[in-house]
């Protein structure tokens, strides 16, 4: 039995089982147990995972591991063509590390959702469905399966924010659902264009079939001559060939998910209103799905178009960095500040990807994982405060250090990691991204030099808002808006300590010994770059 399939369907099946069980607090323990089991399976897979897969000129099944391929269905479309979709699940360096990240974050979120009191059974079922969808999304290599899991994440998220969220939760959840759905519609159009113009030779001579398999689609040979997405297709609309339009649609579709500058307005609302465990998952994993999708569908299928439009992708990244930073500086709600910091940090991912140099793309993937650890820690810090006093205004607190020592340590570690202090993983990611994007100016001339320079200003801004927040909230004499809070502000409970300091440990480990993760990412990034460079 393929381990990946177990990882995906374990939570989904347990969701069904929990659905039948009577409601009760013990369900939350089951939730943690499932996530723990997944971690055991993952670590067992990690032992077997080989980090030096040979890179070849084209993607093939050999460049992936834990491959499981089963025929799902052939939908006969009229006489000659048929859409054959198969359950094709596999993992390479990037997706394996992202799965690892999501399992860790899911455990943390499961532990942190022990504080949920309202109808627990519904919560646990939705949580487990979300769990399965996330793992499935990262493991799927068949576009249909990927799209299924990509969309299947929206529904549980909608209800999780909508029912257990803060005061304006309905508005936030519907806005989240509509934005992401619009994004996924754009991706659906590209998906259809892909499989309509795909022309994969099946075993039988002369019989061709449409396929949605990522590996087949990444090879230029598998496209129908007249199909719009054929490499030499000359037809253009408003100056761009159809393949460029496909990349633009995929870029916008996933740009909405990875909050890119113009489409990010759903993130602050969703984060502010979502309960702590859910905003941990939203920040930790869901934003990475956008980045991962962009790598898989954007850069793997349309590499040359991606290079042509690299300038725009990087521009969007840089704007997101600056815009996110400035907004964070200006906002006085702690969760909104952290949300905007996420917009800023994910801007680096775009900058790294657009640079098409080995350091840049490596930096981008590393940033996805490091941000996946840092921003959940930040949200947990704000969650700790919110659980006690139900208020997130930064100006309402000052001098918390004297009352809550351990929280201050955690907050300082989290904020310094987010501004890219060297001992933490954020620094490695931002360093590699900047090295890559600057070097791309010199080597392949994709990005102008001023972009990484502006990005470094972004770093200063992120340092500014991080330190300003620490200074206003944690240091200085102790004074709180309402006196009633002062006795509620007890220090971290053991549960919170476990969550915060395990994350801090991971961030520190990835900061001091990055080679452990980079070796895993290195091969798959190299394989991607071979596609992008030729």
């Amino acid at each position: 039995m393929n381990w990946l399939t177990i990882l995906i369907f374990l939570p989904i099946l347990s969701a069904l089982v929990v659905g039948l069980l009577p409601t009760g607090a013990y369900l939350k323990k089951i939730n943690i147990a499932v996530a723990g089991l997944q971690l055991v399976v993952f670590s067992w897979m990690a032992i077997g995972f080989s980090t030096d897969v040979p890179t070849s000129s084209e993607y093939s099944e050999a460049s992936f591991q834990f491959v499981e391929r089963a025929n799902w269905f052939e939908l006969g479309l009229g006489a000659n063509n048929s859409l054959d979709v198969d359950y094709f699940v596999a993992v390479d360096g990037i997706s394996f590390s992202l799965i690892g990240l999501s399992i860790v974050i899911l455990i943390i979120a499961a532990v942190s959702s022990l504080s949920i009191q309202k109808n627990i059974k519904g919560y646990v079922v939705l949580f487990l469905l979300l769990n399965g969808a996330i793992i499935g999304c990262f493991a799927a290599l068949d576009l249909f399966l990927f799209y299924l899991f990509f969309e299947f994440m929206l529904l549980p998220m909608y209800f999780l924010i909508g029912i257990w969220g803060g005061p304006r939760r309905e508005y936030a959840s519907i806005k989240f659902f509509l934005y992401t759905l619009l994004g996924s519609i754009l991706i659906l159009i590209v998906l259809i264009a892909l499989y309509s113009s795909s022309y994969v030779p099946t075993g039988v001579e002369g019989v061709y079939s449409h396929s949605l398999n990522l590996i087949d689609l990444s090879k230029a040979a598998n496209y129908h001559v007249e199909g719009l997405l054929h490499a030499e297709q000359s037809g253009t609309l408003l100056g761009l060939t159809w393949r460029h339009w496909a990349f633009v649609l995929v870029f916008i579709g996933f740009g909405i998910k990875l909050p890119m500058f113009p489409f990010h307005t759903w993130l602050p609302d969703a984060h502010v209103e979502a309960p702590t465990p859910i905003s941990v998952i939203l920040a930790g994993i869901l934003l990475k799905v956008g980045g991962y999708g962009l790598i898989r569908m954007g850069y793997m299928l349309f590499p040359s178009e991606a290079n042509d439009l690299a300038w725009w992708v990087a521009l969007m990244g840089v704007i997101s960095i600056i815009y996110g930073g400035l907004n964070a500086l200006g906002s006085n709600d702690l969760k909104k500040l952290i949300a905007y910091s996420s917009v800023g940090h994910m801007g680096f991912v775009l900058l790294g990807l657009a640079s098409a140099t080995s350091e840049g793309v490596l930096g981008a993937t590393y940033q996805m994982i490091s941000h996946g650890l840092i921003s959940p820690m930040l949200f947990l810090v704000s969650g700790v405060l919110y659980d006690r006093t139900h208020n997130r205004e930064i100006n309402n607190y000052s001098g918390l250090a004297s009352k809550m020592k351990l929280l201050t340590v955690a907050a300082v570690v989290a904020f310094f990691a987010s501004l890219g202090l060297p001992m933490f993983s954020g620094f490695v990611a931002e360093l590699l991204t900047l090295l890559g994007s600057f070097k791309s100016g010199a080597t392949n001339g994709l990005l102008p030099h001023w972009m990484p320079v502006v990005a470094t200003f972004g770093i200063v801004i992120s340092a500014a808002y991080a330190l300003w927040t620490i200074q206003r909230m944690f240091f200085g004499p102790f004074s709180v808006k309402e006196q009633s809070w002062s006795d509620q502000l007890y220090d971290l409970t053991s549960r919170e300590k476990f969550m915060l300091f395990s994350l801090a440990g991971l961030i520190l480990f990835l900061g001091v010994f990055p080679s452990f993760l980079i070796d895993m990412l290195d091969q798959s990034v190299a394989q991607l770059l071979i596609l992008m460079q030729n």
Partner: protein, 662 residues
């Protein structure tokens, strides 16, 4: 050879003992006595190891080893050591001063509840500082550069419950961060052009200076120095850093951290193009003169010393700029000793005043010189140490300061001779700074030690209890350290000093111009400064009124050339306003534009209303059938009257057929 592996092991020990100390002291809660002993012992062991390594390096040249940190397809980023003589020397200086500070703060911080946190931060700082000294490539330099920034952030904000301390630590870190960003850009340029960050490799490439990339890289890298060593544009944070405990100021903001900037220049000296050096000279000179002038008007004992540090750092940067590579490093070493001595002496005074003022009701700032005076008799030993270190600082003969400062001045005169023209300003500023330094140091001496005690509290107390041993040992060592013989036998000629000769590029030779002429000018200026100081501050009260007068230059200098105001209005204010603007933009415009559905529906509602009214009213004066508000969209079509439905439907279809026919 057995020696190398042993020495590398020693270096490993020196570096990692700091971080291990940090972890142990912050996790395990020792009692106070054990903590102090452990901290000092750790520092001492590091110092001995450093001296051993220096001995080894002095004989058989530099030593280097490195390990791969990040490896990806084509290239690798590595971390390692490149221990040259300057590195070994700096190592000794850092570890020695940290030992003395550890010893000193055992009493100074004795009663402070957070002493455990204090000692762990100190040990973390030493670890970071050693990292900078040992780094063999720009990346490792940058990593420890920022860690030192973190250490100084933690230490300045040690008493975090005091708001000014918290604000000062944030300001320090942010201004360092601005400098670091420049440093990072330099690294980016180096990496993208030459593909490696390793200093030895870069040095062996002997890059030619008229290549634009080299100049750009040099220009960016010196930004790091400007940030860390508080040079002119970014020097506002050092005076505020005095909020931290005095031993911290002694260690970090006098001897080691601020010197890191100079050390960085030393490390990348081979890369610095002539234009960059000229820039350095100018920046150094400007900083020196402005800081010195500000120091003349300060009343807080530590602020005076802080500004004097900035001025001396300006001196060293100027030294580097004018080509005096070895002299600057020499001055850096000597400065570390006597400035640390001055700070620790000030610390002793503050500690003593603190005791005395304990019983005072209304809070009096123990650091304010205006309440001091006549301490000569109260604290004779501290007075002697303070005096010797002041002499060294001012550059009085028979002191280390004289040797190192004059060598820099010689070098600047030499440099001005060779470049001619406007460059003579630099030595002139050099000489002026010597005079001003003499003036403000004598002012400080007079205000603190001579004259009658101004505060009634001191006059009455009996002789203060003898200063603790842990005060006197560090002060003594530092005082001795600032005398001449420790460096070269002949008190008057710097080039014979063993230290200067041991530098790696041994071809340094003494500047030809008559050595005595420049020393003479310097000494006369020195004397003038002292005399002017004495005339002004002979009688303390009268001098003080002069300083407190609100003349324009007093205000200008007391507020450090209004740097804080300029900084706030030019940088901090606009960024905050911009942030406010983006938040407003976010709320109103972006949300509205991107929230397409609401807009689309309203627009469609409007459009269909207009069409509906136009079509219907044009022909039939309908009864007052009010059309619903915006959201009514097609509901208004659904008016309930059957005949209307049919006419609409038929009308639309007929118009369509007509359109299609044409």
């Amino acid at each position: 050879m057995e020696g190398i592996d042993f020495n590398i092991a020693l270096i490993h020990y020196i570096l990692f003992s700091g971080i291990i100390g940090f972890v142990i002291m912050s996790v395990i809660s020792f009692n106070k006595r054990l903590l102090v002993v452990l901290g000092t012992a750790l520092a001492l062991s590091q110092c001995l190891a450093a001296c051993w390594v220096y001995g080894f390096i002095a004989q058989n040249g530099s030593l280097s080893s490195s390990v791969n940190w990040i490896t990806f397809q084509s290239s690798t980023l590595s971390l390692g050591y490149w221990v040259t003589t300057e590195a070994a020397l700096m190592l000794c200086v850092v570890t020695l001063v940290s030992t003395l500070v550890n010893l000193f703060s055992s009493v100074y911080m004795g009663k402070d509840p957070g002493i455990r946190r204090y000692y762990s931060y100190l040990s973390f700082f030493v670890f970071a500082m050693n990292g900078i000294v040992l780094a063999d490539n720009l990346l490792m330099l940058f990593v420890f550069w920022e860690l030192v920034g973190l250490a100084s952030y933690l230490l300045i904000g040690f008493w975090f419950d005091k708001l000014p301390a918290a604000k000062a630590s944030m300001k320090a870190f942010l201004m360092n961060k601005v400098g670091d960003v420049g440093f990072l850009l330099g690294i980016l340029i180096v990496w993208s052009n030459w593909g490696t960050l390793d200093l030895e490799v870069l040095k062996s490439m002997d890059l030619d200076f008229n290549n634009a990339a080299v100049i750009a890289a040099g220009a960016m890298l010196i930004f790091g120095t400007i940030g860390k060593s508080a040079q002119m544009p970014l020097s506002a944070w050092l005076p505020d850093a005095m909020e931290g405990p005095t031993p911290v100021s002694a260690l970090i903001h006098a001897a080691t951290m601020v010197a890191a900037g100079i050390y960085l220049l030393g490390r990348i000296y081979f890369m610095l193009a002539p234009e960059v050096l000229v820039a350095l000279a100018i920046i150094g000179a400007v900083t020196a003169i402005t800081a010195a002038l500000t120091a003349t008007k300060q009343f807080d004992i530590k602020k005076v010393l802080a500004y004097s540090t900035i001025s001396q750092l300006g001196y060293m940067v100027m030294g580097m700029g004018v080509g005096g590579y070895a002299q600057s490093i020499f001055h850096l070493t000597t400065h570390a000793f006597f400035k640390a001595g001055l700070f620790l002496a000030a610390g002793a005074i503050i500690h003593h005043l603190h005791h005395a003022l304990e019983q005072q009701k209304e809070p009096v700032d123990p650091q304010d010189m205006r309440i001091m005076g006549g301490l000569k008799s109260k604290m004779p030993f501290t007075f002697v140490v303070f005096l010797t270190c002041t002499l060294a600082l001012v550059g009085f003969p028979f002191t280390s300061g004289f040797l190192s400062k004059d060598s820099i001045i010689h070098q600047s005169v030499e440099w001005a001779n060779s470049h001619g023209g406007w460059t003579f300003i630099i030595p002139i500023i050099g000489f002026a700074v010597v005079g001003i330094t003499a003036f403000y140091m004598t002012r400080q001496l007079l205000l603190v030690f001579f004259g009658e005690p101004r505060h009634e509290e001191f006059s009455s107390t009996t002789k203060p209890k003898p200063s603790a041993l842990s005060f006197s040992i560090p002060l003594g060592i530092l005082a001795v350290g600032s005398l001449w013989f420790f460096y070269s036998m002949n008190p008057f000629s710097a080039e014979k000093s063993w230290l200067v000769r041991s530098f790696s590029d041994a071809n340094y030779q003494y500047p030809p111009v008559s050595h005595l002429l420049t020393s003479g000018i310097a000494l006369t200026l020195l004397a003038a400064g002292v005399v002017f100081g004495y005339t002004r501050f002979g009688k303390a009260e009268q001098g003080m009124q002069l300083d407190e007068a609100t003349t324009w230059n007093n205000r200008l200098l007391r507020n450090n050339w209004f740097q804080d105001k300029i900084l706030h209005s030019l940088v901090v204010g606009p960024i905050l306003r911009l942030a406010g603007l983006t938040v407003a933009v976010e709320k109103k415009i972006i949300d509205a534009i991107v929230n397409a559905f609401g807009v689309m529906m309203v627009v469609l509602g409007k459009v269909s209303n207009i069409v509906d009214r136009l079509v219907v009213d044009m022909f039939v004066s309908l009864s007052a059938k009010t059309i619903g508000a915006g959201g009514q969209a097609f509901r208004s079509l659904q008016s309930g009257k059957v005949y209307l439905y049919i006419t609409y439907a038929f009308l639309i279809l007929i118009t369509l057929t007509i359109i299609l026919i044409y």
